[in-house]
Symmetry: C2
Subunit: 245 residues, 2 copies
């Protein structure tokens, strides 16, 4: 922990450096994905597991809203509930993610049941919700700062997947298009909050630590997929097993 | 607890009967209020204490949203966040309640600080949030069913206060107008949910019990005001003291 207080600009630079070093865009599973080197079954496993992340996001956000002290902050954060739960049936991020799992040929009820998850997916995602419930509001807000780094990974993912998998269409990947606008807006709000409110060495260390942990959560999710479905390919009992293509 | 399962219609009748017997429209403090028999200081005490209820409502609702399992349910409940937190600065139920405390001549920062609350107000309101956090989702939803009974109390309150207090204007009471539409909509949704999901004697007993408890919470808030500011007029240490008119 730094002994001195970083300026807001220095803090931002340190936080961005964490992304440079730890964001899951660096993970071999992501690289295989956008390079077209995954099978349909491996992509199914990714979409199925990532669904759990998606469906817990509004839970995470409502958990934070329930702790925010003012209508102003709650209104700002409420945007995320709209983004993910939508404003009508079959709208919002969760519904769009189900279009992705549909497009990959997964049974929707099976996806929603989360019965086929890798256990590590559940542990990692639940750890994210726990952070927002149990740590300081500052850390809860800072935990979403991985959104600072998401436009690049989304661009790689969408471009690479459309180019390299003939069974994937732009419509199937419709989840990602609005995220290119939503995530930077959300990250900008959170970054401004963190730069304003992390004023002591302890607070600045805490926001760095929570952003590292959040990166670890996303990384662990790809680790679990890689180890179960790529190398060594050891699928845990009860988890989704791709059918031979 | 009834041994047999009530039909949805029977359950609704039992729930409405609870309101007939226990809703705070029956409390002497409410009667004094709409009959024009309270002083400005007593009305200030009411508005100041009731502010704590208002400002915790979005916390209660976000707490429940964080537990609701589907985008559909969360979208339906999210309406309440809009109603109370508004969609822009100085909109929504909390902002409108502050117009009421302004209109009664209370200092806004003092109101928002909640420093002058009667301790019983805090305990009772916090008990409401605890119900929604800790009990079943069914009970959390049923706890709002007091909204079934609110149009009558609002009509009595607004009509009586406008007629009987020359320092109160329709603008000051602007909080209540939208509630005449919002509360029945909300109650209708919750009642339909409860009638559909309370299917065992245990569940039906639980929703009756939680509605009684919610009535007790509202009643206790008026008890505290009555005992502190009317009879015997024993104001607890630290709580708001009206200035002599």
């Amino acid at each position: 922990m730094s002994d001195r207080v970083l300026s807001p600009q220095e803090l931002e630079a340190v936080l961005r450096q964490i992304g440079e070093e730890r964001y899951h865009s660096l993970h071999p599973f992501h690289k295989l994905m956008y390079q077209g080197k995954l099978s349909r079954g491996q992509l199914q496993a990714w979409a199925l597991n990532r669904y759990y992340y998606q469906c817990r996001i509004p839970i995470k956000d409502a958990t934070l809203i329930a702790r925010l002290p003012t209508p102003e902050l709650r209104r700002a954060w409420r945007k995320r509930l709209h983004d993910h739960d939508g404003d009508a049936p079959d709208t919002g991020g969760i519904a769009r993610w189900l279009k992705l799992t549909d497009g990959l040929g997964l049974d929707r009820d099976y996806v929603i049941s989360t019965a086929g998850l890798l256990p590590i997916t559940r542990f990692a995602v639940d750890a994210y919700v726990d952070i927002v419930r149990d740590r300081s509001i500052l850390e809860g807000i800072a935990s979403c700062l991985t959104e600072l780094f998401s436009p690049t990974i989304i661009a790689e993912r969408v471009g690479g997947m459309l180019a390299n998998y003939d069974f994937i269409t732009a419509d199937t990947l419709g989840y990602f298009t609005p995220r290119l606008d939503q995530a930077p807006q959300d990250a900008e709000f959170a970054l401004a909050y963190v730069k304003e409110h992390a004023r002591t060495p302890e607070q600045q260390a805490a926001v760095q630590a929570v952003l590292r942990t959040k990166c670890d959560i996303l990384w662990a999710m790809l680790d679990a997929l890689h180890h179960a479905y790529v190398v060594p390919g050891l699928i845990p009992p009860g988890a989704f097993v791709p059918t031979a293509a």
